[in-house]
């Protein structure tokens, strides 16, 4: 009862010291914006790497290689894989895509510096293996021709790959004929063509980097793995696409999340000092008022509560403002970064999810409360007589 009335009285007096309050709100908002943007970025990574990562599609690479770049499969091996158990089939045969993979250089849109872009040669069933694959403009490449389609992410991040324009990769000129999307997945960072065309253009003979296979069910992974690992004719590693991608990006996601959290933590220390300052000023402005309440018989606890509630509200305001700014400024923003595990450029969209916003606001409230703790404690324990003497 008394705490509630002291809290209300205090809040009524906030408009009288709005400027200082706003400074603290903006300080916390800045920190939360950085935190939310960072989290949104790692959410974007995870989404890019996980959305495509189907649990019922297997990626098969050379035994012991962690990525496609370092893998080589012979066409004889690909044949064995096609006949392995656990793989889905339809009227036109097994649902597998033999894939070749190289890196090509393209200038980034912003800086113009060259970056590695995955250039993938795919089999005719490749689109069926990516259940979210959709052509957004143009058409598919025609098998046997020097035509490519580009992922939406690659199209937005790199120069020189517009539909209808020729582009130079390696020794050859290619026609860009379409743009595809794949629910924001890592596939959208790639450029695709016919696997045989790519093999020929890069003098790869009939060798492949990977084979993708649609499984009968996620549980079939185990069976496929058993069959291929024990088959003396092949030397391969089998993983679900989901596991494959998350393994490929683990270091990057960890780095971004750790770095982002560290930055938000360091900035948070600054914001706490800002909040401490504001709450000290708030308490100083109310010294005589607090002393008067104490003289009338109000307890120190009620005074502490009033300071903490104000601090928490400053935190909430800062959190909401920062979250909003991050949402407006970053949600959906497309960017790309080098995945140093695959040596290729990964494009992704920042995702300000409700969970990310919630984390930002919780952090903001914590910053406000930590900032209010000491000034509030001091206010609750100050000498009443000294407070009454102050003006």
């Amino acid at each position: 009862m008394q705490a509630i009335s002291v809290i209300c009285m205090n809040l009524k007096s906030v408009p009288g010291r709005l400027a200082a309050t706003l400074v603290a709100v903006i300080g916390i908002a800045g920190v939360v914006m950085v935190l939310v943007a960072t989290l949104a970025m790692s959410q974007g990574f995870k989404a890019a790497l996980n959305v495509a990562g189907a649990a019922d599609v297997a990626v098969i690479v050379r035994g012991g290689s962690s990525g496609e770049l370092a893998s080589t499969l012979l066409s004889a091996e690909a044949k064995v894989i096609e006949d392995a158990p656990g793989i889905a089939r339809d009227a036109s045969g097994p649902l597998v895509s033999p894939e070749a993979y190289v890196l090509v250089d393209l200038p980034m849109r912003g800086s113009g510096t060259a970056a590695n872009v995955p250039f993938r040669g795919v089999g005719p069933r490749a689109m069926a293996l990516r259940s979210h694959f959709k052509l957004v403009s143009g058409r598919l490449f025609r098998p046997g021709l020097d035509e490519v389609i580009v992922g939406r992410g690659a199209a937005s991040q790199f120069r020189g790959i517009q539909v209808g324009q020729p582009v130079r990769f390696g020794a050859k000129q290619w026609d860009v004929v379409g743009v595809f999307e794949d629910q924001g997945s890592v596939t959208e960072s790639e450029v695709w063509t016919d696997v045989h065309v790519l093999q020929a253009s890069y003098r790869r003979g009939s060798s492949l980097q990977s084979v993708r296979a649609q499984l009968l069910a996620p549980q079939a992974t185990e069976r496929l793995m058993q069959a291929l690992m024990t088959d003396p004719r092949v030397n391969v590693t089998v993983a679900t696409e989901k596991a494959f991608y998350s393994e490929q990006s683990r270091a990057l996601v960890t780095l971004v999340t750790t770095l982002g959290s560290a930055i938000a933590f360091i900035m948070g220390i600054g914001a706490v000092f800002g909040a401490v300052n504001t709450m000290y000023a708030a308490v100083a402005a109310r010294t005589r008022e607090i002393a008067t309440l104490r003289a009338l018989g109000f307890g120190g606890g009620a005074v502490l509560a009033s300071v903490l509630v104000e601090a928490a509200l400053i935190g909430i305001a800062g959190g909401v403002l920062g979250g909003l700014l991050a949402y407006v400024g970053f949600d959906g923003y497309r960017a790309s970064t080098l995945n140093f595990q695959t040596f290729s450029q990964l494009t992704f969209a920042f995702r300000v999810t409700p969970a990310v916003l919630g984390t930002g606001i919780v952090y903001a409230v914590a910053l406000g409360l930590v900032g209010g703790l000491w000034p509030g404690y001091r206010a609750a324990h100050m000498s009443v007589t000294a407070g009454l003497r102050s003006l």
Binding site: M1, Q2, S5, M9, K12, S13, G16, R288, E289, T292, L293, R294, A295, L296, G297, F298, G299, G300, S383, V384, T385, L388, R389
Partner: protein, 228 residues
């Protein structure tokens, strides 16, 4: 003789400034009867406010005892003192100390928030206290919309709304013109003579002191003279 409401024995108070110890009150004895009206006079810095604050339980003495209505308040913890103040003492300050964001009625209601009184009861009692000081028509005004004299009358209403035994006033007319000051002093007269309130008033103004039943002179922390 009426029994003493306030009994002070061997009261000492020192303040500490860093390592330096500043003695303010030096072994003071004092009895104040219930229903008395006492003026405390003396030069600036003689310890008048310090004594008043000790009597009201706003501060702890360095040594000595203070009994108010039989309770030895020097032994109470700061939380116990706070609730003791809420029940037994009404403070009236030189600068009124009203909360600027609250209306006159809300200011007067404040001490009642510490009691069990219902909201309707609080409102009724606050309005009664405001009409007693002649400000029933200003209940919804904020302090900034009132004159100094009116603010002080709201301060008095706040002090008496819980019906305390003891009213403690620190230079209540010190910031007022003579006419407003006289109105305040008239109110104290009425509170003392008609409602039987015990009043202790620190003042610099001999005309104000003359309205009291007793005048005590304090100098350098000691009682030097008494007039009746």
């Amino acid at each position: 003789m009426t029994p003493a409401l306030v009994e002070v024995r061997g009261l000492r108070k020192e303040y500490r400034r860093g390592t330096e110890v500043v003695p303010v009150l030096d072994g003071l004895d004092l009895d104040i009867a219930s229903g008395d009206y006492l003026a405390l006079m003396g030069p600036s810095g003689s310890g008048k406010s310090t004594l008043l604050n000790l009597l009201g339980g706003l501060d702890q003495p360095t040594a000595g005892s203070i009994r108010v209505a039989g309770v030895a308040i020097e032994g109470l913890s700061s939380n116990e003192l706070a609730s003791w103040r809420a029940r037994h003492v009404g403070f009236i300050f030189q600068m009124y100390n009203l909360l600027p964001v609250l209306t006159a009625r809300q200011n007067v209601e404040l001490p009642l928030l510490l009691t069990r009184a219902s909201q309707a009861e609080r409102q009724r009692r606050a309005e009664a206290a405001l009409s007693l000081v002649g400000l029933a028509d200003r209940a919804n005004h904020k302090p900034g919309e009132l004159s100094g004299g009116q603010e002080q009358r709201v301060g008095i209403a706040r002090a008496i709304v819980t019906d305390p035994d003891l009213l403690l006033c620190d230079e209540p007319t010190g910031d007022l013109d003579r006419k407003s000051g006289d109105q305040i002093l008239d109110l104290f007269d009425a509170l003392n003579r008609e409602a039987g309130k015990t009043i202790i008033m620190v003042t610099h103004d001999p005309r104000a002191a003359a309205r009291a039943r007793r005048i005590l002179y304090l100098d350098k922390g000691a009682l030097v003279r008494e007039e009746r």
